[in-house]
Symmetry: C2
Subunit: 227 residues, 2 copies
């Protein structure tokens, strides 16, 4: 039975890769900087998005695709800020794939949108395996989850373009060793930038906004070359 699953998975991953390449090209042509945001449950994805939308209001038009197994609590929170949002349900699956994401994009009015976030399903395993066609993948790890996560979820660290350590206002409460986290993360992904922030106190938030502006401009410059 185990081998059946793996063969199916290989075919699924190959199909997914084709669809992801296609979607990435579509987004490049449309000039929408698309970010796949991944993390464990409760790591602070929605809070980060809310704060980011507020901070960049008037500077960038940000839209969000909320992916959940069920429910639409996060979509409501984003919508309350006046940002364009769509809720995707995975039908029990633990990740979004490129095909599901492309359907979400098709159902979305992206006119005038500069940056599109996919808030992926809360999980450090499956989302790491599925390229959804994003320009960048950003991973959140919250302090309460612990500094040993690179050892246990290596693929997530390998595929992410940026690691953001969240809830750093709780560092005094947890045994979290930044040096141990960084050594583990760098062992999986040597060049990956690591940022630390607290959405609650605002500490470190400017560095995240700087990264986002820089990458959005680089994307725009690159996309503009052939348009």
């Amino acid at each position: 039975m185990q081998y059946d699953i793996l063969e199916t998975k290989e075919r699924v991953l190959a199909d997914n890769e084709r669809e992801a390449v296609r979607l990435r090209e579509t987004m490049r042509r449309r000039g929408v900087f698309f970010i796949n945001l991944m993390a464990s449950p409760g790591a602070g994805k929605t809070t980060l998005l809310k704060r980011t939308i507020e901070a960049l209001r008037g500077e960038y038009n940000i839209a969000v695709m909320e992916a959940d197994v069920d429910s639409d609590v996060d979509a409501k929170a984003i919508s309350d800020l006046g940002a364009r949002v769509i809720q995707l349900h995975s039908g029990g699956l633990c990740h979004m794939d490129a095909d599901m994401t492309a359907r979400g994009v098709d159902a979305f009015d992206l006119t005038g949108v500069d940056i599109l976030f996919l808030e992926n399903i809360g999980n450090l395993v499956c989302p790491a395996e599925f390229d959804v066609g994003s320009a960048k993948r950003v991973m959140l790890l919250s302090v309460p989850e612990g500094d040993d996560k690179p050892l246990k979820y290596p693929l997530m660290f390998q595929v992410s373009d940026l690691l953001m350590v969240t809830k750093i206002d709780t560092l005094p409460v947890f045994d979290f060793d930044k040096g141990r986290l960084e050594a583990g993360a760098r062992a999986q992904h040597p060049g990956m930038p690591i940022l630390y922030l607290s959405a609650r106190t605002g500490e470190g938030f400017d560095a995240w906004l700087d990264w986002l502006r820089r990458e959005a401009e680089a994307f725009r410059a690159d996309a503009g070359k052939e348009n």
Copy 2:
């Protein structure tokens, strides 16, 4: 493509259910109380197991199967306590199924073991779907993950026989509303007991040990009937 996945999944789940029933019966015959422990990454599964093994030393012989995508850091931690432990690697999959679990059990010397824990892969989605043949399923939710998780991961709450809210020493640091959590959890699973504990301070730990003793004795009485 999506329909292919779902059809495959149904067949996989049906196969899994047969294997789970078989394994549950095997464990009953051997008198081993088998618990499937599930939670998000970093919710405190390993810490709970370590404290439980220490607290019940001389009273119950506890063994552990550690499931991980990769690495064996948790198995080392358990082994250091002198408990019998085996490390299972899921080969990139986000959950353990009954077949993988049965292989782990076969490779294990269970002579004299009273209680066997499976520390499942850190994830609130996939492990909820796969019955691994355990007598009980226990779910951990840590305070930092937030009180809205029943809305977002309903199946995990529906299938669990006990919900343990961990890291309650951090309640003052997070906006976590016990009433909201309980209303959400009870909406998914009306009769489920909910315990609160901090493995760090020890608060609430006795109630967990009482639950474990009571369930282990009930299992033993039931298993003994036909032996």
